[in-house]
């Protein structure tokens, strides 16, 4: 795919940079024909929170599975066929009436990709980062539409620590 094929307006600076990268990488033989279209299609159709939803639904329907999931997330999730890179050290935590969990990545690049897919944009917003979350978790969570119950404490597992555990 070439960004330049259908452009009539002048390219923006970043579009020019990407076009230059595409030309360079293609010239070096690193971008097989059709690769860009294929990888975009796969990420759009096969990878996403639908996989994690299957895990949660199984836990709802199968109490023994739920116990296994909380005891060893990686192994229990692997039972459903999900795992691999970024999914090799999965830790599952449960929200309860007393505890709501907040997941952050202190380096902003970790996410349980096999079960949740690619992070939403707000996960990358500086206001989401841990100092903000730790400073005022109740107000912060309310700002994302999920105010915790008044009785809840806040827990902030680190996605990176979890991944590397």
């Amino acid at each position: 795919m070439s960004n330049s094929d259908h452009h009539t307006a002048p390219m923006s600076p970043v579009e020019q940079r990407v076009a230059a990268l595409e030309a360079l990488l293609t010239e070096r033989g690193l971008v097989p024909e059709g690769f860009i279209e294929e990888i975009t299609r796969r990420y759009e159709t096969e990878i996403g929170p639908m996989n994690g939803a299957k895990v949660v639904a199984r836990a709802w329907a199968d109490p023994e599975y739920k116990l296994r999931l909380l005891a060893d997330g990686t192994a229990a999730i692997a039972e459903l066929g999900f795992g691999g890179p970024e999914g090799d050290h999965l830790v599952v935590v449960e929200n309860t009436a007393a505890v709501h969990n907040v997941i952050v990545c202190t380096l902003c690049s970790c996410y349980p990709w096999p079960v949740l897919g690619l992070p939403p944009a707000w996960y990358k917003d500086p206001p989401y980062w841990p100092r903000w979350a730790a400073r005022c978790p109740r107000r912060w969570r309310s700002g994302y539409g999920t105010p915790p119950p008044r009785s809840a404490t806040s827990s902030c597992p680190s996605a990176r620590r979890a991944r590397r555990a």
Binding site: M1, N3, V14, E15, R17, V18, A19, L21, E22, L24, L25, R28, G29, L30, V31, P32, F35, I36, I39, T40, R42, Y43, E44, E46, G48, P49, M50, N51, G81, F82, G83, G84, P85, E86, G87, C105, L107, C108, S109, C110, Y111, W113, P114, G117, L118, P119, P120, A121, Y123, K124, P126, R163
Partner: protein, 77 residues
């Protein structure tokens, strides 16, 4: 499920589960990084990931895919 791509875990924005590409150049630069990881680094995403961390840290307010572009430029001089 198909074999996971080694690009996994890199932080790609989604909105309500959908890939958040606002323009063709964003999906292009996303796929270009995947191509470099797959075909230039033997599937190891770590070199690109480290560049991306540096790019975001250098300009935290920069739009995400522009940081991604900068990271790729650094990785492939």
């Amino acid at each position: 499920m198909t074999t996971p791509l080694s690009l996994s875990g890199l932080d790609l924005p989604r909105r309500n589960g959908e890939l958040a590409f606002d323009a063709p150049w964003q999906s292009t630069v996303f796929a270009l990084a995947a191509a470099v990881i797959e075909n230039g680094f033997g599937g190891d995403p770590e070199p690109f990931r480290q560049q991306l961390i540096r790019a975001i840290a250098a300009e935290p307010g920069r739009p995400y895919w522009e940081s991604w572009t900068a990271a790729l430029e650094e990785l492939v001089p």
